[in-house]
Structure formats: structure tokens, C-alpha cells
Subunit: 547 residues, 2 copies
């Protein structure tokens, strides 16, 4: 088995430059044409692929942890007349359906991470469009708090996907137009069908951008605005340096197993099943924010979340044919709960808060991963507090019932809304939508909960006894792995997110589902489809039947 | 051009029997195997196709208008050990993708109409499952207020779609499991992967049904419950007879035009554009509930809505290749507003209320129709009140600006939430999500609004002058009709429903989009897909790559 390298570092960025000066960070896109993620397509006009987006995601993480003094982030480019041309079309043309879908999902997560940086970490994000932002380029801009567009008679914002490529803006663009920027639907309709987009004052009037500045004053105006933000009085309890450095968390491959420090991903290609194990801390973990600063990214809470995240990306991109992931934990539940206690007691410390948010993102990445997840709770496991979220995130769970070898789960305040799903509910609340009193009942128990009680409380799905255990779990795994991957993807996406919808779930549910469908349609990806023919002289040929 | 016959009448039902006795209606499914909607598949085991569902939809409409005394509706079957086996698989196998999608959409609308009957018209709906309800059969049951299942050791409720057919329950089932019945997601996960489903007490315990009764007492128990509901004191202002009879509203075909009394659908197959014109009342319309009772279904408000509904179904099923619909109105706006005034003043009358709900359903059918809609506002048009909703429902609108030939729009209280979209917002409120004050500003004007002011208020998209008008509208129509139908479907579905989501929009947005995707995937509909091979000895062959 081979893994992919998702670890990035600013010193080795190919496509972005991250510069931090006091409270101001600048993230400058300067895509190297000849350095695509895989060979076969030049990255012209600041177009992007997975490699470009991995660096962006890395930069956002580093701003969180390494640069707590930053209060405003400017995203811009150095290219003349171009901010970003969006996802590279030739890359999309030459990608499998599974890759296209996962690529869009990752870019969506990155944009939502940018919005979380603004909302939760108080970093105001400013898109400084020094040139045209089209497709995913404009989608990056509308993930920012405010958009400044150069008014030079040629630079525009645009969503040319529908008219030019017969696909949708795949990174949340349509949803953000009408739900975030609340642009009138008829104006959004016009905008999305005009390939060349809207320039200057028309973009401003439509609400697509927040400010336009003439070329001669663009830099100065953006700079002025950035300084204005940076000069605002620091909020009480705001982030402040020093930060901690994020070290790489790459796993070591041994045969069909990837070993990280706290996470192991063991793959069985024949059965298409992987086992993802998270281990509790082994020694003592920081008990105060000061100790957490000293331990830095080596702290278990930070490290395991980053490793889990990397493992999920391996599943998505390197292990396409794995259909089912068995979630396990190992170690001392008390040590997990001690970490939880620290995260809860010191939630007003910025680094503690960032650590909690990081774990939340990794768990949401799991919620949004198109694999079946079964949690298996055995003796020696430590599904406690934060790690119990793994069992709650699973599509179902199996907990051994054997008085001779007791298994326990434990809840902590971390299960009470501090690690929300994409729609804002805790996994426990989403689980017990029918009866919120069950949430309180479960949370009120701080002692270890053994199998019978866990089943009674509704915390696990099945509790086979020791005689049935092996067969029942084995058969369930085999059956699941035999079902159609597509039907399971749609089923799981529909069952996992009961309750309210947020912009985030609308993007992943509604918009992504439509995009997945459109990607499979001959009008886009058939031999005569618009995406397939992009860049060639032939005109696409459409099947006109509407559905 | 040929139209399809969507008009049904209880006297000619093939597959259902509707019996009304005082406050109790019984709708009994007894599908005639040899009478499918089109030849090629027998409707075994009370499985259904579009013909079966058209009768169900008709029965629900007749309960609303013809049987206002009904306060409880029992849905059951007369087959031994079978309630309903769901949508007919051979029908699905032999259908085009466009038909499959539109069939699912129509059945979804029928189920949602059943829920509206309960919520808005006070008819308690009881599913009496005298045998197995699988797939769409169980989806019909969970659209009811309460479900009674016979406990005979064999009858079950089930969603076998994922394990057997590699598709999803396509009629809102997954969403209703976790969002309406609020079943725990892990239990729903198990239920949806067990082809044989859950029986008796397990179904009850999981929350899939509300009551189970042994075979010997099933009928008596259901009857007892029905009488209990029927005996509850009638609410103040509740519906009461006599009702009015619904007459057929079928259009007359002349060449490429379908003419109804108040609606005309003119089709240009070459350009793939249709023009849908709604005409205002010509004479005087009922001004009181008493007059409305006397006029009955011939009243304009009832008739135009039913004609609009039929025309939309023609577009969906008979006119697949029409991509763009131009919406027009003709006649005297004052007459439309007089009808609106009656609907508003007498909203507490059951028939007036049903009329309003009927118009609301027809407009929501339009919102959910996968066609581009452009409203064109010209001299002689009457986009006023209820008919102005057509302009608000359109993806965009063009209003002539010519002082020599003024065009006007007018608002009425009908635009203020009385005709809500699927997510509960009025079209006006959804349009001005960014600034609710614009809703109030527009609604405060009860005089005719001419073009400049309409543009200023944001009520129309474009206002070309008389010199540009012809070219601008023509080019816009041609451009729209040239775009990929699939990309437009996804784009419009994403832009039309800004704001909150409801169970209804989750079904049409999230679940339907996933289902559309899955229907196109080789794992379902390829030569070796599970749906294609259903009923044959071969096992499906899956592409295991997860997306």
C-alpha cells in the first residue's frame, strides 16, 4: 500500500506565499504552472488543483496555531489582472469521478475552515481581488468576510461553470450566493449564466463584492482597510502570541498498515475493510494552558486529531475501494478524560480553544467521509469523552456484552456541544432528536457505563454477548462491504444529518449531491460533453431531456 | 403534440377504492396487475406506477373539496399479507432517467400533499398496514400521521432499496425516518440495510410504526382507533359539508398548443421553448364563500390552479425536451385582485382555505419543476397578487419599459405568506432574504406599480425599453435554451430555495439529488447494476470505488 503526502509546510509551498507581520497575514497565490499535483496539466492563470488547495488548508491551520497575533488575513495574488481562475479544467477532465467528488469535498472543507477561522478565531478575512476571480477563484473570495475588487475595466468575478462547462460551481458557490451573501435569486441566476461574469460597479451593485477600487488606488485602499481592521481594539480574551509550531504527522507504511503515533489505519484490500484505531495518551498530558504551550503540537489532543485527519484523507484519496471503516480505540479512558477536563476548564484560552476546534474539524471530516463507519467497542477500548464521539459519528456501533470482560464507555462535557456537527448540533443531540431528555440523561452519568446500561441509554446499537460476538460482528462487516458503494453514500449522507440544516450542510448535502449527479451526466463528462470538450474547437452536443 | 391524461375520477379508479362514510374515509389499495400505466410490466403485489399514484393524488384532492366532513382517512389494502410493495421495479428498469426522476418527484409531491391534508385541513391520516409495506409502500405509510402494523409473524415494514437494488428509497423515506419520525440514525442505518425489514414488536420498538395488533384483532383495533378520532369534538371553524365536485380540466390540443379555459401552453419544439399563459377571470367571480360554493370548481381560482397543475405535469412527462418556459399573464388585474380580496377576507372558510392551499400546491409544483422559467411582463398582462407569484417563482423576469405602453404589477396580501414555498417562506421573503424591509416596502404599495418603480423595488430583473425589448428578450431566451439541461437543473434547484430548509426541501434537495445521482451510476443502472438485474439470476457487479 502507498500513502499520499498531505503534509505541507510554508517553507516548501509551491503555490502560495504566507507572510505575517504583526496582526496582518498575507496569503498570496502564485501558482507554479509546471508543478501540478500529478503530471498532465499545466496550472495556467492561477488555476488550482489538490496540491494548491493542500497548501491553502495548511496555511489556514498555521495561522490558527502558529500566528495567534494575526487578526486580519488578506488573500490576494501577484499575477497581473488575474486573481484565480478556479479549479483547473484539464485536471478535472482527466480525473476519475471519485477523485472529482473528493477534490470538491476537500476544497469545500478548506473554504468552510476559512469561515470558521473568521467566526471562531476572530481573524477577519479579506479577499483582495487584484484581477479576475472566476469559478473556484470567486468561490474562495465569497468564503471570505469581505471582497475588494479592482475596477480596471477588465477584471471580473464570474461563475462560468454552467455556460462553459455544463457543471456547477463545485465549492459551495451557489449556496453562498443566495444563503450567505443573500443575493436575489434572479440576479444570481443571471450572474451564473454569464460566462464572463460581472465587473466593477455591476458586481458591487449586485452584492457580489463589497468594495471596488480603481487600479491606481487598489493596493492603498486595501491596505487602508486592513490597517483599520488591525487597529480595532483587541477583544477581551483574544488570541495572542506566542504560538506553537505544527510538525508533520505523516504515517509510516508497513505492508497494508499506516502507523501514526496515536492512530493506526490497517487496510484489508481483499475484504475492502479498514480498521482505524485511535489510542489514548500514554503518559501525562498538559493540565494547564501553560503546559499545553510547552508541549505544543506534540500534545496528544492536537497530535491525534491531525493524525486522524491525515488518515481520513488517505481513505478518501489513496484508498478509494475501501468501503467500510471499523473504528476502534485503545488505552486508558482516564487519560482521555483528563485531557477533556483540561479542554473544558480552560476553554477561554486561545490555544485550548483552537485545539478543541481542531478536533471538531477532524470529526466533521469523518462525518463527511463517504465510507461506512462501524464502531467496535471491545475490552481495552477507551470510548470516553472526545473519543466517544467516534462511536457517535459511526453509522452503527457494536459493544461486547461479557460480564467476564467488561467494556465501558464514558461521557464528558466534550460530548455536550463542544464538538458540533456541520449543522451545529452535537452528535448526541442529533442522535436523540426525538427525545432531548435522553441527552441529559446520558450526560448526567459521569461514571463508567457498562454495556447493558449503554444499550439501555441508546448509546450503542448492538450488544452481542461473548458467544455471538465474533460471528455477529464479522457477518455485519461482510454484509456492509457487499452493498453498492453509491447507494450507501447517498443513504449515509441522508441519515447522518437529521435536524436543522446550515449553509455548511446545504453545501455538502444539496449542492454536492447535484454536482455529483452532473459530473456523471453525458452532457458534462460524455465524449461530447462540455467539460470533456473544454479547450477544443468542437461544440458540445447535449441530450436536451430535462429531469 | 400529444398530451397525457392526468385527470382521474373515483368512478374510474383502477387501483384504489375510495369510500366515505360520515367523518371516515377509507382509501383501499387494490392494484390491478394487468393495468399498468404503460405496457410492459405487471403490477404485482400492490406495486405502483404513475397511474396508481395519479389516482392516489386525485383521491386526496377529492377528500379536500368533495368530502369536507371527513376527519380521518384510513389507507389500507385488501390483499392478503401485503399492503404495498412500493414502486414497481420492472417499471423503473424500463424507464428513462428523466422519467424515473419525474416519477419520484410526483410521488414525493403526493406524499407531501397527504401531509398537508393532515396539517392544514385537519384530516388525521392512518396507515393500516394489513400486510408488508416495503419500499415506497412504507414511504406511503410514514407520510401518514400514524401507522398500525399487523403482527402476524410475517408482515414487515422495510426499505430494501439499498441492499436489493442499489438505489435509495426515492419518496422521502430516509428523510422521514430521521427527521419526521426522528428515529436514531444507527437504528435507521440497520433498518435500511436489512432487505426483509422489521416485523411486529421490533418495528414498534424502533419507532417505525406506532401500533401493532395481532391478526385476529387488527381490523377491530384500527376501527376502534378510527372511531376514537372521529368522535373527537370538532374544532371551531372545522371543515363541514356540503363539498363541491371537481370536474376534469383536461386541455384541448391544437397543433403544438394545449388550451385550457384559463391557461394556454404553447410549445415550440424546435427552439425547445414553451409559453405558459394564465388568463385573469373574464366575468365576475364569487365574492363570498356562499357564492364560491355555488360556483364550485368552475370558479376561476380553483380552475386556473388545476389547469396550471396539469400543464406543469405535461411539461414534466410529455414535453421532456422543453428547457425553458416563458410565463405570461393576460387580462384584467382588478379581477385577479378581487379574487384575492375574497380569498383573504374569508380565509377562515374551509372552501376558501382549500382554494388557497390548492393554488399554493400548484405554485410549489412550479418551484420544483426542472425547467427554466422566465416571466415576461408586457402590456395587457396582469401580474397581480396571486398571479404575481408566477413572476416571483420565475428564475428571472423581463418587464417592458415603455411610457407609451405602460405595464404594471400589483401586490396583494396573497403575496404575504399565504402561498408559501416548500421551505415555508413567501416567495417575496425568500427573494429579499438580505433585507426584509424590502418585503414590507413592496407590500405597502397597493397601487399599480409601473416598470421603473418595479425595477427599483427589486420586483423584476430587467426592464428593457421598447427599442431593446424584442432583441433582449429573444437573445436571453435563445441563450438559456442553449445551456446544458443538467447543469441548469442543479443550478436552479440550488438558487431557488435560499434560507431555511424544511423536511420537504430536504427531500427535494438533498435526498432527490442523491437519488438522481445514484440512478445514473452503473452500480444501479449499468448492464451489471443491481436495479438492472433485479428479477434475474445474475448477481450485480459493483465498481467498489467510493466517492
Amino acid at each position: 500500500m502507498e500513502t499520499l503526502d498531505f503534509q505541507r509546510h510554508p517553507k516548501r509551498y509551491l503555490h502560495w506565499k504566507l507572510a505575517v507581520e504583526g496582526p496582518v497575514a498575507r496569503l498570496v497565490m502564485d501558482v507554479q504552472e509546471e508543478r501540478p499535483w500529478r503530471p498532465g496539466y499545466p496550472l495556467k492563470l492561477n488555476s488550482y488543483d489538490l496540491g494548491v488547495d493542500l497548501e491553502l488548508a495548511d496555511a489556514i491551520e498555521r495561522l490558527r496555531f502558529e500566528h495567534p497575533d494575526v487578526r486580519v488575513l488578506v488573500i490576494t495574488s501577484t499575477r497581473d489582472k488575474i486573481f484565480c481562475a478556479g479549479a483547473n479544467i484539464y485536471m478535472l477532465q482527466s480525473s476519475t469521478h471519485a477523485f472529482k467528488v473528493n477534490f470538491c469535498k476537500f476544497t469545500n472543507e478548506t473554504r468552510i475552515g476559512l469561515e470558521e477561522l473568521a467566526r471562531e478565531s476572530g481573524v477577519r478575512t479579506v479577499a483582495a481581488l487584484n484581477g479576475t476571480a472566476s469559478g473556484g477563484g470567486y468561490e474562495l473570495a465569497i468564503a471570505c468576510d469581505e471582497i475588494h475588487l479592482i475596477d480596471d475595466g477588465s477584471s471580473a468575478v464570474s461563475f462560468p461553470e454552467t455556460p462553459l462547462l455544463a457543471v456547477l460551481p463545485g465549492t459551495g458557490g451557489l449556496t453562498r450566493l443566495v444563503d450567505k451573501r443573500r443575493i436575489r435569486r434572479d440576479l444570481a441566476d443571471v450572474f451564473c449564466t454569464v460566462a464572463e461574469g460581472f465587473r466593477g460597479s455591476r458586481a458591487l451593485k449586485t452584492g457580489l463584492v463589497d468594495h471596488v477600487h480603481p487600479r491606481s488606488r487598489f493596493e492603498a485602499k486595501v491596505q487602508e482597510r486592513v490597517q483599520q481592521i488591525a487597529a480595532q481594539p483587541r477583544a477581551k480574551g483574544a488570541r495572542a502570541g506566542p504560538g506553537i509550531e505544527l510538525e508533520p504527522v505523516a504515517g509510516r507504511v508497513e505492508g497494508d498498515t499506516v502507523r501514526y503515533q496515536h492512530v493506526t489505519l490497517a487496510v484489508d484490500p481483499r475484504s475492502r475493510v479498514a480498521t482505524l484505531t485511535v489510542r489514548a495518551p500514554e503518559g501525562d498530558e498538559p493540565a494547564t494552558p501553560q503546559e499545553l504551550r510547552r508541549r505544543g503540537a506534540k500534545a496528544w489532543a492536537i497530535r491525534f486529531a491531525r493524525e486522524l485527519d491525515d488518515a481520513l484523507l488517505q481513505l478518501r484519496f489513496a484508498l478509494e475501494s475501501i468501503g467500510l471503516v471499523v473504528l476502534k480505540t485503545e488505552g486508558d479512558a482516564a487519560k482521555v478524560l483528563a485531557v477533556d477536563a483540561m479542554l473544558v476548564a480552560h476553554g477561554d484560552d486561545w490555544l485550548v480553544n483552537e485545539t478543541r476546534l481542531l478536533i471538531g474539524r477532524a470529526l466533521r471530516r469523518l462525518d463527511l467521509t463517504a465510507r461506512s463507519f462501524f464502531a467496535v467497542l471491545e475490552p481495552g477500548s477507551c470510548f470516553a469523552g472526545t473519543l466517544f464521539e467516534l462511536a457517535l459519528a459511526a453509522d452503527r456501533s457494536y459493544m461486547l456484552h461479557d460480564p467476564a470482560r467488561p467494556v465501558q464507555v464514558r461521557l464528558s462535557p466534550m460530548n455536550d456541544g463542544r464538538l458540533p456537527m456541520s449543522h451545529g448540533l452535537s452528535r448526541l443531540r442529533c442522535r436523540f432528536l426525538a427525545d432531548p431528555r435522553r441527552v441529559d440523561a446520558a450526560l448526567s452519568i459521569r461514571e463508567p457505563i457498562e454495556t447493558e446500561q449503554a444499550l439501555e441509554l441508546g448509546l450503542v446499537t448492538f450488544a452481542p454477548d461473548d458467544i455471538d460476538w465474533d460471528d455477529e460482528v464479522r457477518v455485519a462487516i461482510e454484509e456492509r462491504a457487499s452493498l453498492s458503494p453509491d447507494a450507501l453514500t447517498g443513504m449515509e449522507a441522508s441519515l447522518r444529518f437529521a435536524g436543522p440544516e446550515s449553509m455548511e450542510t446545504k453545501i455538502f448535502g444539496r449542492l454536492s449531491a447535484w454536482q455529483n449527479w452532473i459530473f456523471t451526466r453525458p452532457n458534462a463528462t460524455g465524449d461530447e460533453g462540455a467539460l470533456s470538450l473544454y479547450g477544443r474547437p468542437e461544440r458540445p452536443v447535449f441530450d436536451w431531456r430535462r429531469t
